[in-house]
Symmetry: C2
């Protein structure tokens, strides 16, 4: 598997995945995992999520922004691990960008609800595997 092929397959996996697994450090440095809806992506470099400002993950990323984002296809032994950092965003532009119809149910005050937070993950490294093929590359 060459780099070009790995990148193409990894992008296809990201595009068809609605959910990503997000790895974080808890306060005591213990690894945690959470399934989150993938809201938007830019190439393999950036993944956008949204969550409650009061959530455990926001508290964890405030203390330690290091994260990994994992996309997986259980049916074909295929996965992509992106290693990077999470930025917690509350600017109006980011809030508007990730806001979706129906979010009022969770955030009654709308797009400026203080409990609505946007997370932007930036990848520094990518590892893609498919069956026994495995490649690490710059995302």
């Amino acid at each position: 598997m060459k780099g070009v092929e790995a990148r193409r397959k990894a992008l296809a996996l990201v595009e068809r995945s609605g959910i990503a697994l997000v790895g974080s450090n808890s306060g005591d440095g213990h690894p945690w995992i959470k399934a989150m809806l993938k809201m938007e992506t830019e190439d393999l470099k950036t993944v956008w999520f949204s969550t409650n400002t009061s959530s455990k993950r926001v508290a964890q990323f405030r203390e330690d922004p290091r994260a990994c984002v994992y996309f997986v296809d259980f049916s074909d032994w295929m996965g992509l691990m992106l290693i990077g950092q999470v930025k917690i965003l509350s600017d109006p532009e980011s809030r508007q960008r990730i806001w979706r119809e129906g979010y009022e149910t969770y955030y009654p005050l709308g797009v400026s609800d203080p409990d609505y937070t946007v997370l932007r993950f930036s990848a520094a490294s990518a590892n893609y595997y498919h069956q026994i093929d495995n490649l690490t590359f710059e995302p």
Copy 2:
């Protein structure tokens, strides 16, 4: 959702999952995730895996045994995170227990192949969610 119901649903999720996501700390304390075949489980307390002795995860768990094991059903917004520690085992009994037909392909020297390693994860805490229900309990 009561504790008894969460435990019952969590156990059913574990039983029907062939693959678990394993969270580890890399050498620099960065969270990593890897999909691994779930080999055996005991209640929600213990999960057995096997891997190559030369693998990155074995090196990581040697430095920091803290781990989480995550079972997820993407189709029904359901997941279980077990928080605990990994023990790296190489005793004959554990090797024999997890050894499966066909492993000779990966470990040509058989059950005593030095590159064959058993990982036994022990959970200290469990968090199960289904839709908007979420419960943390002792596994």
